[in-house]
Symmetry: C2
Subunit: 192 residues, 2 copies
């Protein structure tokens, strides 16, 4: 079958600004998560109730070149987690296992400072430091959540299989087994 | 099962230098391809025979956190294609379809200038320009090869599924259906 592009030289469909990870191109998905979108995530309910529910906690960009659920494709994204705390607990993403367990993901730190919280299926939780240039392999059986422990936005990139899916419910129901809190001015994992 | 890392904060296992794409960390694979490793790739056999067979054409780094062939894992890599030509044809990589057809890949330009040659299963060939920040989705059914059309090293990053594999043989036997050559000082795809 003849392809209309045969022998042509074209521009890439997408571009990334490596200074902040911003993705440009057609059909880039943009989503924002405000404090009101994150009930039952943070431990300190009183502190939560005192913060403006429209506070922007994190923003996601994603490229989905194929249908979600297709085997063999890949998605690419960028997340910005804004700096801030709810009580002593740093701003963070919802966190999830993949719906199709066993599907891995790469994250790479672009700007700012934070932590990648990881929890295995036995509910052991640990954290990897995220800095510009840090590269993280997230095994397919590990829940993951990112946390901004710094004073400026934490941005990071991601690549994951198009059939991974997101199981947010497990974390909504049972959380991670530890929270990342500021203790004497430093981030510490506290069993919860 | 208790995990030794429970509640600990650790460094990322890998780091990337975004200025040139270099990956640092344990068990990073490094491979170099010299002209002598690339027989039957370039069109001009006479020009090929006149270049030092030890000329370095490209270098690859890769992180393989799981076994090759495992479903659901991901690999991450960086390639540098050095500048140069064999006759009028620019230095380039071998090129391949994935062994497991349907497995996609992302490439992103880091430094230098070049082209991503793409060929579908009907042997239509086209090229996407690679520049710092260009982001390329390579559908799982498309052969791919990279070409340095500039004067300094072309470096780019990649992420692909751990069960994609490489089918180099199809390209070794039948090539792409077009070659990227310098014509009047500019890259042009010439049907071959």
């Amino acid at each position: 079958m003849k392809n209309i592009n045969h022998l042509s030289i074209i521009d890439s469909k997408f571009n990334v600004d490596y200074s902040n990870g911003e993705i440009k191109g057609k059909n880039v998905i943009n989503a924002k998560k405000y404090l009101k979108d994150l009930p039952n995530i943070f431990g300190d309910e009183e502190a939560f109730s005192k913060i403006d529910e429209d506070a922007l906690i994190y923003e996601v960009q994603a490229i989905l070149p194929v249908d979600e659920g297709l085997e063999g494709g890949l998605f690419y994204g960028k997340t910005i987690v804004h700096p801030g705390k709810v009580g002593d607990e740093y701003y963070m993403t919802k966190g999830h296992f993949h719906q199709k367990i066993g599907r891995a993901e790469f994250y790479w730190g672009i700007d700012g400072e934070g932590m990648l919280l990881l929890m295995d299926q036995d509910r052991n939780t640990w954290a990897e430091k995220m800095i510009p240039g840090s590269l993280h392999y997230i095994d397919g059986f590990i829940a993951h959540r990112t946390v901004n422990t710094g004073v400026k936005p934490l941005s990071f990139g991601a690549c994951w299989p198009s059939d991974a899916g997101h199981n947010y419910q497990e974390i909504m129901d049972n959380g991670f087994s530890a929270r990342l809190e500021e203790v004497h001015g430093k981030p510490k994992l506290i069993a919860s």
